[in-house]
């Protein structure tokens, strides 16, 4: 087992956005269970698409549950980001050595990183100086085959635990939905500019009032071979290092020149 800089085995916080009962989180726990002391704090219901939302106008609840032998697990009434904040402040009372989020049912490549509760939990950890990884499998189904995702999650976590890490490290890892033997390996990528083109379905409710439901079709505007979308289409696991400094430095330099303040 990899050693923590602190005494004892490394403490690994696990969360997700599909909720504590999703097969994806159980697969993540099983993949890394023997690599450290695992503590799970995850939403008590699905929280997909919650982005970096936090709960500020309402109280939060925590309830312990049995998830996997030898693993401390809590379900939380809040968002994935709330889970990370509460875990550090009220359950662990310290920063874990690593935070893992997922394994998400469905992709979080390209622009999805910004809507994803899974990735926002990982980003929140990094803001709090906890290195973190979000894992996603390109299969929305509850019966998805997580074999490849488990394999690469373990490779990545072992690697990270053996090296001294940037405390703000965040990796966005997506795994193609193909049998594990067809996965060609991992690629370090950049985020593709690819997004959903919205098309709200318009319907009338039983009282005749209009409502709208978000649907859309995914469009890739980015043909780069260094992108996560390209890697996944070619059966690689994509690994995108993510940052939370949103400053657009190129535009900053341009505005400094043209605005002449």
């Amino acid at each position: 087992m990899a050693k923590s800089k602190k005494k004892g085995p490394p403490v690994i916080l696990i969360t997700n956005d599909d909720g504590v009962t999703a097969p994806g989180i159980l697969n993540l726990i099983e993949a890394v269970k023997d690599l450290g002391k695992i503590v799970v704090v995850a939403p008590d219901k699905p929280q997909s698409g919650m982005g970096h939302a936090i709960t500020i106008g309402n109280p939060l609840r925590l309830h312990p549950l049995q998830l996997s032998e030898g693993v401390e697990a809590w379900q939380c009434s809040g968002t994935p980001v709330d889970c990370v904040k509460l875990a550090v402040d009220k359950i662990l009372h310290r920063k874990p050595d690593l935070c893992l989020s997922g394994i998400n049912h469905g992709s979080n490549h390209s622009i999805n990183v910004i809507y994803s509760g899974t990735m926002s939990a990982a980003v929140e950890a990094a803001i709090e100086s906890i290195p973190s990884v979000g894992f996603s499998l390109l299969d929305y189904s509850l019966e998805a085959n997580f074999e490849g995702a488990r394999k690469y999650a373990r490779i990545i976590v072992e690697n990270l635990l053996q090296n001294s890490l940037d405390k703000h490290l965040v990796l966005n890892v997506n795994v193609p939905a193909v049998p594990v033997e067809l996965i060609k390996g991992m690629k370090i990528c950049r985020q593709a500019y690819a997004k959903y083109e919205e098309d709200f379905v318009e319907r009338n409710d039983p009282t005749g009032k209009k409502y709208y439901w978000l649907t859309g079709k995914f469009v890739n505007f980015d043909k780069g071979k260094d992108t996560d979308v390209w890697a996944l289409e070619n059966n690689y696991v994509s690994v995108v290092p993510v940052q939370f400094d949103l400053t657009n430095y190129v535009l900053k330099t341009k505005l400094e020149k043209t605005w002449k303040l």
Copy 2:
């Protein structure tokens, strides 16, 4: 009035996260009303801290309302990001020339950009190739004095409408809570690494069950004079250009060298 590249006056979409009845959004409308055709689509209730959340498991509603003479206005049951998506797809049926979000009651400088519904609405617009600006005033109160914020919102919007813009431009504009005559001007800045240190209040509800409520104290870890926090502390309006490509290119290069895939 500045000309749109399309026929007629520029179309300006206005949204916020404090909800359609917040004084901040009325102040923003008043500040720019004569610069184009204004269409307001904003949440029907406060949505602070919603980050980039979208509504995927529930229907959305839109209701017209009277906000300001000559201004088309809608309240939406969803998040700030939902408002932008619905506005483009179901109300405007085209991309507006500009999207403005705010004026937020309270700061969105430094890491707050990532939790802010106000800024996430602006970022969503930019993802959809609509140049956008989020405005925030460093005063949470309903009775805040928006005079300085209105003045600089107008200066910035006039400037943007007169120039050809990067379609992915997003500006995060924060205004100090001081009388307008004390504001020294605008500064183009980077996002400071400054954040809230969480401290959840733990209480028992009337049935004796524990609940937690998010509180925290703001800590600035970043002493740079090129940051938004520095600018605001020195009575400048801070302008941070924001991007939605979250790739950490420095870490990408480092991982490419060390992981040897």
